[in-house]
Symmetry: D2
Subunit: 388 residues, 4 copies
């Protein structure tokens, strides 16, 4: 979902570069020990396809993104791989994306009821599986952030939800329709965005019923990643954080969509609760996101942390993060696909809370501290041999 | 050692403020659970004395430091407590401090041989113990940083060292003489500076022989503290740090002494090896320290971290730390005194490697990561009941 | 107007400290040559009074502000001077301040029509003049920022405005009522805020008719000040600025009021047009302001400037400004009062465009570059001898 | 001098790109009005040659530098232009460059006495002039920074210097030998580095005697440029700067050479006196430069400015400059060549003090403020019609 977006394009081109031996797997969590000592699906076995509402050519998106990341020429060198994936991209479903996302939709499917939309997605997943001979399918949401949809009464019960989805009114946003379709066939679903995705009781029930795994939400790639490490310093040293102000500026499509208040609200909500979780509810905490077109693929964040030390002395820590967000996100999606497939293969079902380190708003756990999340994931990794 | 310096003055005034209920124990690691669930010596049982080579009045130093930290009036409110400690401060020993430290010495003791110097210190410790009725004595080095002294052949053997110390030539710097004197009486020694202190095999042997505990070295209060947390982010995300440049500017006495190349070299050495330990030897790493008088008690550090992500994309993280160093250091010294006493009371002997989170250059371990150090300390804390 | 606010309190206490020889006139533009070579009213001849809608005591505000600026004790040392001014502060008028400002009004005057409000203000000015025996009166607006009021048709014509002001409907916001009252008596008016003030054709006509001088608007004390200097660098070097993003965080009353969208909009508008004026309309420019209570009197701004150099190479300049805004503003108000009195005394009438360097949104000129504005002011200063 | 260095390579490739209409003249001061209204030599009339002590190919240097500046492919597209210049580069002279520079010298000329070295240079200049049919020759020093050479007694008198140069001992560093050679033939000399160059009384006398113009020294491209604008803010607002600390990190050849203490001292001296000139001698001022290889062509500077406002309140301004230094320097060299030729053509002789805005340590003036320097240059430009 979002298969011609900047993360997808980076992922496909980057995977091709790794396969060609042109790049080392920097930025892939699963490329470091002890992940390398566990039987994850090897990178060469991954095959990509997807849905997209925008037109255009994957190669063009990859060229634009990678040049913007300071890597000109890379996309062109892997034009064949990009075109091969492009040929497997089908028109996408738009629901509840708000005016900003609707405007992108050049090749969206007119799907009728939610149930029909799910059937369309499901058909395309099955066709993809058959075409590439996939053993396992992992559906990943890397589309633009949706506005928050008001919960529908049917969300708490699977049967009621199925009923409601027969009607003409939209009861699920697109991010949830893809989760529904994945689970319906027992396939895994990863929500790399703050959109609703599988965070609905009825969808969790469906996943468990069909033996599917899922995880989310909102990839933790930049400012929030730094926060989730740095905040521990204050806890360990018993320093009293008074306020934590963060301002993000970014220039790509992600930023352009977030320039719409409704879409931005979803994102800010996802980013902002970490501080309260780690440092307590009394800390003043604000997160801003603004679109600055000239920055292109670069995302810059300035955070100002105001804290109190011994005897009430006031001090501060500021940081400036400057990074190519797609280059940070793409390898994490590769990691998540490998880990979801691994978990499914060893018989796990439902929410994969152990994948918390990848997400700003992790499902299945309240743990927000990166090191603790990562230690938890390493323990989970070693916990048991895959059940095959 | 350094009993009229900025850390001492802050510690004594701050302790009085805590006792008066005027301040909460922000910045004291031992004030948070689970430390509060263990039988550490309570703060009201601590009594302070010490050695100092500078003249002046402790109250004046406290007034200057605390006003510089934005806390005017605090020292005056606790003038009695400061004067009471001041009355217990004895003239200090200067050895191997270099010209910069020698110049401070208004009331240094002319001690003759190193053996005589140790005897003088030892006599003063015993007098202090008798005067205040102390159960346990913990000697803490919070004096200015010494230049690095070339190791003497006798350092590797206690008997040889005792012999050499009878001569008129100086074989140990002051920081080590105080450790020697502490251990000789079975007392604990904490090296809060990068000076030599107890980092000498013969001194370790002496500590073990006399049942003394010790820990060090160089309190981790600022830039290095941030480094020891932040560097993990790159490890956990498999990002490739290319260079880590840090620049410190500071304006107090500490900075004035470090403005001398020999003294600075000791400090830079202590600060600089963390990056190699956590991120590997290939990372370019530099640390600068410069004296900027106008900053007074404020210590500011700018760090620029240059790293490589997926596909070789270049990114950066910068931070600026701005803090009153004495307010960060003083509560940690209170923590260390309590923990050293606790360890001694439950029968531990020798280097307290578990106290690693407090130090830039921890003795007894190579672990430099704050979270891991702190988790290790918490495990040590709970490991066994004190042996009484 | 806003006589018990943070700027007023700082100004009165600071003036007293200058008179007592306790402080040097750092931050006063008129304390440097060539201002010192011209016959400005001397500081010792200034006497303060004013209007305020909030209750409380000026001394308490001064104590809170100055302690927040790191200057405890200063207000108390000048309690007499503060109380003497306080005794001359009368209840203020609230009009068009929006809900945020209305909520502050503990002692506002119920004034009826706009005409009656002006009469009340005028009466208080005359009483002040008589009480202190003032030769010249300068009315200064240092109250909180008003939401922008939609222009009333009568604003373009003085007679029509006078008519409209007889009705019960509010046609002028408070900032303009004070200007009207000042001009009515031939007195000077300075608008140190982005509120409407005297920026209305009918008011300009009134000022000219009565021989009054006026200037504004919005004191240039912080981020915009830096911008108005730094932007020239790019012009002089023919570098192509792509985007200029600025984010302000502040914690005082000013910030709390600006936390309301309507009041903030007025401020952002005032701050944001400088970049287009100096660097051209193609530069992406955004200014954010957020309230972070813990910062108290400190105002912090982070600006990120993205520019293009030779051959299209992308580069950046960032700055972080951290300052006590009231300490920057108060001396400028003293400067403006002196310069307005000086201009009036030498026979000038109407808008004082030469005072542009003091303002973010200068009246009477489009010049936004600090150095050019300041050079212009120096030329104006020397232009002619005062007409007495 | 330094014709295969990063500035030269950027300049030659960039000039070719401009000629090809591939780039706009961003970063060229002479491309903005009023320079465009004066008869400067047009860019298409410039032809390049030079001396170099390093081997290699200009195209390779250009490729490395421009790729490092984020402009891959640019050098290759102008390989012909680069190769054509390369063919005109002759082996260079090394004198007084210190061990760091000596180590670079793969094709240095064994020149014997200083007089013979000058004769060699002069011969090559004449050959260049003849080969390309140049009307005017401007010799530019863009080589690495030399250690400071102790002044020789003969420097104050041209005849004495000529005598001394006959001996085998080196009395002039290479930067001065090139100036001597240029002047000897009446040609212009520009010192874009902090090396000695033409800053010697006897050389000034020679320039005047032969009707040559010269200017220098040390191109003002980055941190110092920002300083020379920003410092005015404090002057104009009568704010009291307490300290100004600047730290530069850079990764190219320039940085590698400056990593040698002797070469660095020359540079720091050149950068550091600006603050005292603009803000007075009481300001604490320090400048650091460190080599961080991973940064490549990017030069990053962090400056911390600590200042005092009204009533002694302490505040700060920090900036971070991040730029590709060669892209900033190269167009300025084009500017200087055009302006030197222009000045010579209209009959000027000796030091061109009006070119001060280009230099960190301008010859012929004490003015360090960019805006004033630039205003002065604009006045000079318009002052008189070229004398033809």
């Amino acid at each position: 979902m979002g298969a011609r977006g900047s993360i997808s394009a980076t992922l496909v081109a980057g995977h091709a570069a790794l396969m060609a031996g042109e790049a080392s797997p920097v930025g892939l969590v699963t490329a470091r020990p002890p992940f390398t000592e566990v039987e994850l699906p090897t990178l060469d076995r991954l095959v990509f396809g997807g849905h997209e509402i925008r037109g255009g050519r994957l190669l063009d998106e990859a060229r634009a993104v990678l040049t913007g990341c300071g890597l000109p020429g890379l996309a062109e060198r892997h034009a064949d791989a990009l075109d091969a994936v492009d040929a497997r991209i089908r028109p996408g479903i738009v629901r509840g994306g708000g005016a900003a996302i609707e405007a992108l939709g050049e090749q969206k499917v007119a799907a009728g009821s939610d149930a029909e939309a799910v059937a369309t997605i499901r058909r395309d997943i099955d066709a993809f599986r058959a075409e590439v001979g996939a053993e396992t399918v992992v559906v990943v949401n890397v589309a633009s952030t949706e506005p928050e949809m008001a919960p529908h009464p049917s969300w708490s019960d699977l049967a009621a939800l199925r009923d409601a989805m027969q009607g003409q009114a939209s009861v699920l946003p697109a991010s949830a329709l893809y989760a529904f379709a994945a689970f319906e066939g027992g396939d895994a679903y990863i929500n790399f965005t703050p959109s609703t995705g599988s965070r609905i009781p009825a969808l969790s029930a469906l996943a468990r019923a069909r033996g599917a795994v899922h995880a989310g939400s909102d990839g933790k790639t930049g400012e929030t990643l730094v926060k989730s490490v740095l905040s521990e310093l204050f806890v360990r040293r018993n320093l009293n954080v008074l306020s934590w102000f963060g301002q993000n500026i970014l220039g790509n499509m992600d930023g352009a969509i977030l320039d719409n208040p409704a879409n931005k609200a979803t994102k800010v909500h996802s980013k902002d609760h970490l501080i309260a979780r780690i440092l307590g509810p009394d800390v003043e905490s604000r997160v801003g996101i603004d679109y600055v077109r000239s920055l292109g693929e670069t995302k810059i964040a300035w955070d100002h942390i105001h804290f109190e030390g011994f005897l009430g002395g006031r001090m501060s820590l500021q940081f400036v993060w400057s990074a190519a967000d797609s280059l940070l996100a793409a390898p994490l999606v590769l990691d998540l696909v490998r880990l979801a497939a691994f978990a499914g293969a060893r018989g796990e079902v439902g929410v994969l809370a152990a994948l918390a380190p990848f997400f700003k708003d992790p499902m299945g756990t309240d743990e927000q501290r990166l090191i603790s999340q990562d230690d938890g994931m390493l323990a989970w990794l070693r916990r048991a041999e895959p059940a095959r």
